[in-house]
Symmetry: C3
Subunit: 219 residues, 3 copies
Amino acid sequence: MTSEIFPHDVQQILDLVGIFVFALSGGLMAVRKNMDIFGICVLAEATALGGGVLRDLVIGALPVAAFTNSGYFPTPLVAGVVVFFLHPEVERITRAVMVLDAAGLGLFAVTGTIKAHDYGLGAVASVACGMLTAAGGGVVRDVLAMEPPSLLRWDREIYAVPALIGAAITALLIGIGQLTPVSAALAAVAAFTVRMLALKYGWRAPRAWHRNGSRTSEE
Amino acid sequence: MTSEIFPHDVQQILDLVGIFVFALSGGLMAVRKNMDIFGICVLAEATALGGGVLRDLVIGALPVAAFTNSGYFPTPLVAGVVVFFLHPEVERITRAVMVLDAAGLGLFAVTGTIKAHDYGLGAVASVACGMLTAAGGGVVRDVLAMEPPSLLRWDREIYAVPALIGAAITALLIGIGQLTPVSAALAAVAAFTVRMLALKYGWRAPRAWHRNGSRTSEE
Amino acid sequence: MTSEIFPHDVQQILDLVGIFVFALSGGLMAVRKNMDIFGICVLAEATALGGGVLRDLVIGALPVAAFTNSGYFPTPLVAGVVVFFLHPEVERITRAVMVLDAAGLGLFAVTGTIKAHDYGLGAVASVACGMLTAAGGGVVRDVLAMEPPSLLRWDREIYAVPALIGAAITALLIGIGQLTPVSAALAAVAAFTVRMLALKYGWRAPRAWHRNGSRTSEE
């Protein structure tokens, strides 16, 4: 299966690191929302695995990988416990967490696109699935925490665009038959880099033209 | 597959028109919520394709049609861009959008019911899937936009009932072996008509009997 | 299929009772949110069947049981109508409803775990699916009603833990080859008992350590 474009062990380690960091962001949200240890673990699971589960559902890769890969489910529980005991320390390294989150974003955009292609989807649909894999978990996290989805907010640095870039490069590489571990890694690095630059320079996306009075109401 | 009750090209055009109008309603909600261009496109996609995706998931039609029919995914992006540049103009023709939305409601209630039946579901379950197809996208839109789902609000004109009527007539036609392009179109027209009458005369559904004090708190 | 660990008729009756009570909790939430009769029925359906639908989706048991078992879909409609006409009476027997809800929690934690195992999932994943079956509907209910999910709130009696206990005992019984109708019933009773004790003594789960100033803001 080409969705394991990297050597099996490398892929698994990368996946688990990505899952762990996404889980941290879910756990921190749960602490901010004053949830208990179970809420922290549930939100860590939903954030870390939500994107991949949504991808597997829509492409029909069932049972979902979250429940068949034996490392995927326990990892967010570890992250949840870490946040439970050490959340001030985790908050203090938010910068490091965001760097790792950007790495996870790049990784999952690439592997999500490849897996969708493996299941027979076309290039455009595969790109959409790559973005869903990378960004879906964060949307699930925000919906469960009753927060306006960060992905949809104009006042947050762009998140969908880096995912789109990583997924689109991957689909292009597949299309021209040049998908290799090295080129796939470069696609992930491209997404990672754009996300890091967006964070550094506060890149945001434009809102609709000609918005009028209602503007102030939500700002 | 009888879910293509209409000639293939006609069906595709009807589907794309329905998807486009549903996407407009998602895009307009995104503008009202002050989202950026990506938020507009994400909400347009989720609103337009959400109902069909939910139906395909529960009946097991995987990968979902949203990702296998090459016209389905790009259409909401076009609607999103239209809303981005022209939202005051789109708001101005809200009346026309609501008429087309009612047409989409009727169409998807009918085709959703037929597709569920094609996948082996019974009459009651097929009707439920028809309603899910027609109304599910709007619920996804409202959840992502952090709005109380319009479908569930007593102070909105009935939306579930027209969908129910279209779906129930379709299931009945299937049951008596009289499903033809003409009769299916009539079922869609019936749903459309009830929805238009509901809008015109402000038809609402009753709330629970004997509600007491708490009434005023949410009105 | 061992997910019918009990005799078929007994299983069906237990399932329908569990679905009915879960539907009551959805219907009552809808009344509290001032929804109309259709909102009441939609929320009753989503609450009663949501957990099982999510389980069936992730394990790939499609079409979902909610639409293939002919008793599952109509039952919440009956509960919705009961709530519509008699909600003050239903509110008055909240205590009885909570007892039955705890019984449903225990039942679905056990049967959900067994069904996941039948579809080839490992022990940990099966336990997660058991919890999802038991608690997922309530989360869907709260998201649709725009309420912070009760499952995730620190100030509510524990709900995930009893489900975890019932599911874990079931997975253990499967592992040691001792799953029988009697032992499965005991697993459900264990979950039920812990939930009832949690309600009686107000058991709650701990929140993150070292929370600081932000604490007061949400309490």
